[in-house]
Amino acid sequence: MPGEQDYYSLLGVSRDATPDELRSAYRKAAMKYHPDKNVSEGDTELFVQINKAYEILADPEKRAAYDAQLAEMAVEQAQFRCRVIQSRRTILELDEPQVHYILIDIEPRADIAEVRPPINLSIIIDRSTSMRGPRLDQVRAAAISILRSLQPSDSASIVAFSDRAEIIVSPDQARDMSVARARLSLLTAGGGTEIGQGLKAGLAELERNLARQGVNHLVLLTDGRTYGDEEECLAMASQAARQGITINGVGIGSDWSDRFLDELASRTGGNVVFLDSPTAITGLLRKLFDDLTKVVASRIQLAGQFAQQVDLRSAFKLLPEPMPVDDEFPANLGHLPRDGKIRVLLETVVHPLGDVEELTIGRFEILGDVLGPQAEEIRLPLHVRIPVSQEPDPDPPPDDILSALGAVALYRMQEKARHEAELGQAGQAARRLENLATQLLASGERELAKAALNEAERLVHSRRISAEGEKMLKYGTRALLLPAKAGPGS
């Protein structure tokens, strides 16, 4: 292996150069540095290197081996790495389907440079009538605090929307605190909720300042349902994801549509926070911004394919924030924090295998951009394999998987109960919530257990779950997925 230069750059060709391109590049270089002609010192060594390079690259077999070596080196030197934990060490040879779980950790290198990335941020605020009073006051205070901590390389805007959008603070105005303050005092409540309007205006501001060296981020704050433009919003979110913009949702109170906001955010690798009281708004926005200053890599994606015998049943991001992940690959996973990791849990169904000794579950790639002045696109290959055996793995599954699955089971029960309530199966939904409460109590979640019992009782009397209860149970059980909090189910 050459010290600094790889053979491709030595010959001045790209990594996918054809044999013809290689030959002509070699001829040119060899002619230039030929010992008969060379004058300057070191040219002979270079000539030897060039010959060696061509010898390797001209031979398809040697070239393939060399490429593999290069790829390995790239992985070793990458600024982040990934690790896979599987629920079992072997998979059973069975004539029926079986479930298999895979945990993927993406972590920055311990010695990664401490660089604060440029932040390209847009905060989109629902100014509908219901936001009047403390909710908007909190938003204003948070906005001022964030604008104050902007650095010259940052860009920030604040957009308010009702049935139309207004840029309250543009990126230029954001640099001048007195102007920004005056502009924010214009932020008053009134009108309906059309999220599409706000989203469009906010994304337009972000697009003007898109930066590969930095994070591109949109925060959407709402307390209501958007009317009739859901599809349009989701299409905008998909487009934003392709541009590398991540969307975070913040839902205040009980009247917003959690399913819509979840879908919107998950398409971009962002997450959703539920606030039952407006007093937490300032702190939350402040934290969102501080977290952005600690991002080391962004636009992290999980791409690739499962083997034919393997189906993906569900995907959950557990870290840095719990969130269901789109089961269509490439899946967007958002930002990688310097002091943490991204952890994804995949639930797969493995169908009968036939006679094989090893199953390649899938061939994936982790993609992402390392931020900062040395911005770099990284691709980590990730082949997940497992030996096939006739005996079950006698060892218990790893704790990380077990505790996460315990929490996922609780989250699913809540989803099922809600679904049953919507289908009019109130009795069944109530029973399920009672089961959920039992499991929650067993893991020490008294408050959530109480909420589940309250809703079970409500189901018996009024056949419905309250809008507030739905959100408390959903985001409450989702929060249990954070590994620090997740205890085994029983």
């Binding site: 059973l92 069975l94 004539d95 079986q98 298999h100 315990g406 089971a409 189910g489």
Partner: protein, 171 residues
Amino acid sequence: MIECPTCKHQEFVGTMFCSECGARLVHVSPLPTMTIPRDHVNEVAMATKPAAPEGPELESGALLGLRVISSGEVISLLGRDNYTLGRSAEGQAVVPDVDLSPYDAYEQGVSRMHAELRVERDSVYVLDLESANGTLVNGKRLQAQKPHPVRHGDIIQLGRMRLQLISRVRN
């Protein structure tokens, strides 16, 4: 499949927590089906009502469907009031409306004309057509030729083949 010791819900091998009641399943033996003799149909006692079906949806317009438990595939039933269930074999004169042979019906002891599903006055019934290995609903064996009401989520077992009824028929 493995069975939850708490609520008797059936889950795929390898499942760690019951999707019905949240109980931990890690120590439930992962190899039960391989020990069931092939020529013997077990009557599985179901302690609770089976869960509502999950997974793929019915085709639009279909009111009835059957989910093949072993594979999760959904067979949509469209355009009739009654459907015969069974498997086809070469040279067979009468073929069933729903041919289960792609789902290993033969190996699982499904007869050529095994059972019939009927929709009558907003209710769905299943009827065993004097099959060799019998028909069970939620673990209970049916008398031959006697219609038995079934509802959304019920498990209909033909021989060893388990199907879950998906019904949008009001009852």
